[in-house]
């Protein structure tokens, strides 16, 4: 089903696979704690917007087994958990801003006691009018901050002068992360102010900072450790901090270890989602389907606090071009405050919402002109020598789009299958087939440029085993496996000599989140840097040892090679020592065998006010062809086949990369099709459980699913010539969304533009069909 030709050298199983298949792998909820452990519970707001007039915790505090009941007044430090802007309280003080907002905390010896105490908390709320839809937020102008824009040329006049033009609106929906492991933290108080925090967090350094701040203590008293997460996808980039802060407050107040694991429904109700967007666009194009001008306004729902909204909106604006050169373009972005949980990072980080707009535009261009949409896409691709500068001024270098297009249209049999779908549709009244090709070009780097840094601490022990610490976190993406491989390759030792430690703020400080698909790029370079420092030290010290009596032709440090578990003189093969034997020698020679490594991405920078610069170190490319079958009577669709070709440079680990691509695509498929989030008119989440919110099951994936890596495309300047993989494949699922639209469009024999939004639920499809028939 999958192909990684040309990438076969680095096939290594996931470093924790053996622990996972035996059930030994330890997640936060599995950590063994003494009998002292208390259960923590969060009491949340039942109102989307209300004043807290009064509350009484006396009766709750008196429940036997209850050790702490806390309100905002009991926070010893700062009542804030905002990661960038300080507008998100840890516990509500005098007002609540969404249903599910944390108001009180309880710690007790059992979950039953927690619930008993919760029932005795008496609060008087005065409900206020909430803002629950983007339309209301836009109408009332509840902007979270000033609008942003990126402008090149004069889009308005280009559109006006264009031979063809249209305008439209696109809604893209929210999405729940649905990591299998819900939010969880365990805090164990130590001596004095010390606190050990075990958190399922993508950003341990920020978790540490916020825990210290709510407790009013120094960061040096807080150690955050992350062994692994049971999935995260962006949902544990900032919002894992919340559970950690609440747990820390309870541990501090009770003096006992406390664990909070959110029940699934509570997690879904309390945590933020992917930002829903309402986008309005106007496009001008010529007879060949070439885009001449695009003007777009992106409105996004930030929820009740800022969180990472501006960075997400910015990435949406930076990816509105996707892979297309648009000579004149204006994109404006506006983020609004609503009374819903604060929306947050989710794989793609605004990229999908931006790309969906331009893919919808291209799809409409093709339908308007009666052209094949894939061909219109190809015509508009960024060029290799000209037409290769993005709307924000970054040149698209090493553009693999033409190669991907040629190979993928051939391997998927695109042209023939498109014709076959037409034949099928002509003879089927109630079942239609559609096919679509969509590309992705995704910028790799944090757009907040200073975040592009990473640290590592590599230790070599006297027996020759190596312990790698780095700032990245493992959430299933295989980062630790890749770090293990990089260290083993750098030291020339076998994998079993290298262990990657749990991520720990006491080992590597002040790290960036494991996000932006940059985990391997940044941490891999930091690990390599530490290895280089250690190797230089070892080479210096071991050279005289290898020289021995041969002083007339000494071994020089620069001749030393690290390979096959040995340290050898490259000029004299006979002079060598095993890596393990060399380490006691190093200790006798008083050589330090620990080193910290550091990396910062060179040559990037971006002026977010002017909207110009080089925000990305490079671009990752991919492409997909997807075919869907649609039942016009029920709106039910089946993904018949998907073909993906993706550019990972030189893969660090082809199996892991293929798995990331397939997993990303299927997660995107969920966003595009079945994952629909609904709130009622009071701001209550209706889809708060897996029986009402549907992520893809195995039965929803393409019937035939082919994924392959582009070969022979090393990426210069990155760790072992690799490229990032985590996020970009998500957006390839837009091909499934547009394949469904193509099938829908076949109902009118492609003569009418169907109304369409995302996700394309059965309801959206059937309503659209009704309108197609009515027109």
């Amino acid at each position: 089903m999958t192909g990684a030709a040309g990438h076969t050298t680095n096939v290594v199983p996931h470093e924790s696979a053996a622990k996972h298949v035996t059930g030994e792998a330890v997640y936060v909820d599995d950590i063994l704690v003494s009998g002292e452990l208390l259960v923590g519970r969060v009491v949340t707001s039942p109102h989307a917007h209300a004043k807290i007039l009064s509350f009484d915790l006396g009766a709750a505090r008196a429940v036997p087994g209850v050790h702490a009941v806390l309100s905002s007044r009991d926070i010893p430090g700062v009542n804030d958990m905002g990661p960038v802007v300080h507008d998100e309280v840890c516990l509500a003080a005098d007002r609540v801003f969404c249903v599910g907002q944390a108001v009180f905390l309880i710690a007790a010896e059992s979950a039953e006691q927690c619930r008993a105490a919760e029932r005795l908390i008496h609060v008087v709320y005065e409900p206020l009018a909430p803002i629950l839809t983007l339309a209301d937020a836009i109408a009332q102008g509840t902007l979270l901050g000033p609008p942003a824009s990126i402008v090149r040329g004069d889009a308005a006049s280009a559109i006006r002068k264009a031979p063809h033009r249209f305008s439209g609106e696109l809604e893209t929906g929210a999405q729940e992360h649905w990591y299998l492991e819900s939010q969880v933290a365990l805090c164990v108080p130590g001596e004095g102010k010390e606190l050990q925090v075990y958190s399922s967090s993508q950003h341990p350094s920020e978790t540490q900072a916020l825990v210290a701040s709510v407790l009013g203590i120094g960061k040096h008293d807080v150690v955050v450790e992350v062994r692994r997460m049971g999935g995260a996808f962006g949902g544990k980039e900032t919002q894992a901090n919340h559970t950690a802060c609440w747990t820390a407050l309870l541990a501090r107040a009770s003096g006992r270890p406390v664990k909070i694991r959110l029940f699934r429904d509570d997690d879904m109700i309390m945590t933020g989602k992917r930002h829903r967007f309402l986008s309005r666009y106007e496009a001008g194009f010529d007879d060949r389907g070439m885009l001449l001008g695009l003007s777009a306004e992106l409105h996004c729902d930030g929820g009740c606090a800022t969180d990472l909204t501006f960075a997400i909106l910015q990435r949406a604006m930076l990816h509105i071009d996707n892979t297309y050169f648009i000579p004149d373009i204006t994109v404006v972005g506006k983020a609004y405050r609503t009374n819903l949980p604060s929306n947050t990072a989710f794989r793609g980080f605004g990229g999908p919402q931006g790309m969906a707009v331009v893919e919808q535009v291209i799809d409409r261009v093709a339908r308007t002109l009666g052209l094949d949409a894939a061909e219109v896409r190809r015509r508009n691709f960024y060029g290799t020598d000209s037409r290769n500068v993005t709307h924000y001024g970054q040149t698209v270098e090493r553009n693999h789009l033409p190669l991907l297009f040629d190979r993928l249209t051939a391997s998927s049999g695109y042209a023939k299958r498109r014709a076959d779908a037409g034949i099928f549709n002509a003879s089927h009244e109630f079942v239609k087939r559609g096919i679509a090709l969509t590309p992705v070009k995704f910028g790799i780097s944090f757009t907040t440029s200073f975040l592009n840094q990473a640290g590592a601490l590599v230790l070599i022990y006297k027996d020759g085993t190596i312990l790698v610490n780095h700032g990245g976190t493992e959430m299933g993406q295989g980062l630790h496996t890749k770090m293990q491989q990089i260290a083993a390759r750098e030291f020339g030792v076998s994998l079993d000599r290298v262990k990657v430690n749990a991520t720990n703020t006491a080992k590597v400080p002040n790290t960036s989140a494991t996000a932006a698909s940059a985990g391997s790029d940044l941490n891999g370079m930091a690990v390599k840097n530490a290895a280089d420092i250690l190797k230089a030290r070892i080479a210096e010290a071991i050279a005289p040892v290898l020289t021995g009596g041969n002083t007339s032709d000494p071994t020089r440090p620069e001749d030393i090679l690290f390979e096959k578990n040995s340290i050898v003189d490259g000029r004299h093969a006979g002079r060598s020592i095993s890596f393990a034997d060399a380490m006691p020698v190093m200790q006798r020679l008083q050589v330090s065998l620990s080193a910290s490594g550091f990396y910062k991405t060179p040559g990037i920078g971006w002026d977010s006010v002017k909207g110009t610069g080089k925000p990305f170190f490079y671009f990752a490319f991919g492409m997909a062809v997807t075919e869907a079958e649609l039942d016009l009577l029920t709106g039910r669709h089946t993904i018949l086949r998907a073909d993906i070709l993706y550019d990972v440079g030189e893969s660090l680990n082809p199996q892991i990369d293929l798995g990331q691509i397939e997993g990303g695509f299927v997660q995107g498929l969920g966003w595009c099709t079945t994952e629909e989030i609904k709130w009622d008119d009071k701001g209550n989440l209706l889809t708060h459980s897996p029986d009402t919110y549907k992520i893809p099951s195995v039965q929803d994936i393409p019937r035939e699913f082919y994924t392959a890596l582009l070969d022979n495309v090393p990426n210069p300047g990155t760790i072992h010539s690799s490229k990032a993989v985590a996020e970009p494949p998500f957006m390839l699922a837009l091909s499934a969304w547009l394949a469904i639209k193509d099938a829908l469009s076949a109902a009118s024999n492609h003569t009418k533009e169907p109304e369409f939004s995302l996700p394309a639920t059965n309801e959206v499809i059937l309503l659209s069909l009704e309108k197609l028939k009515a027109r």
């Binding site: 692994r228 299933g476 199996q655 195995v698």
Partner: protein, 153 residues
Amino acid sequence: MTKIPITTTVNGTVHTLEIAPHQTLLELLREGLGLTGTKCGCEIGECGACTVLLDGEPVNSCLVLAPQIDGRNVSTVEGLMRANATDPLQDAFMDHDAVHCGFCTPGMLMSARALLAEDAHPDEASIRTAISGNLCRCTGYVQIIEAIKHVKP
């Protein structure tokens, strides 16, 4: 609260226990017996992370009340190892990178174990049916299907 006495066999070991009537099998395994390999994903029978075998049949342990296992056989992921060596099913999951974050893995393995006990060479359709109650948010399922297809007999 009155406790209920039960005798049950978990991964081949007989346990005589006194349990609360409302305790779920999932809670008993994780908290009572320290078998934390079985995962808790939703507690309402939707995700399959808590799948174990009850007399060989896959069940969501979050939906089984612990008293119901009186006199019955429970197998969990911890019982898959054979004489200190991994089972071919476990090997296949490792070889095919069917394990990403690993949170769905124990449940997937137990559903696959039940399938393979009935059919040593299942086709793709039966594999899909067998794991259709096990959600995975990481892999996109392809590597899991491939792993189950390639379990060495």
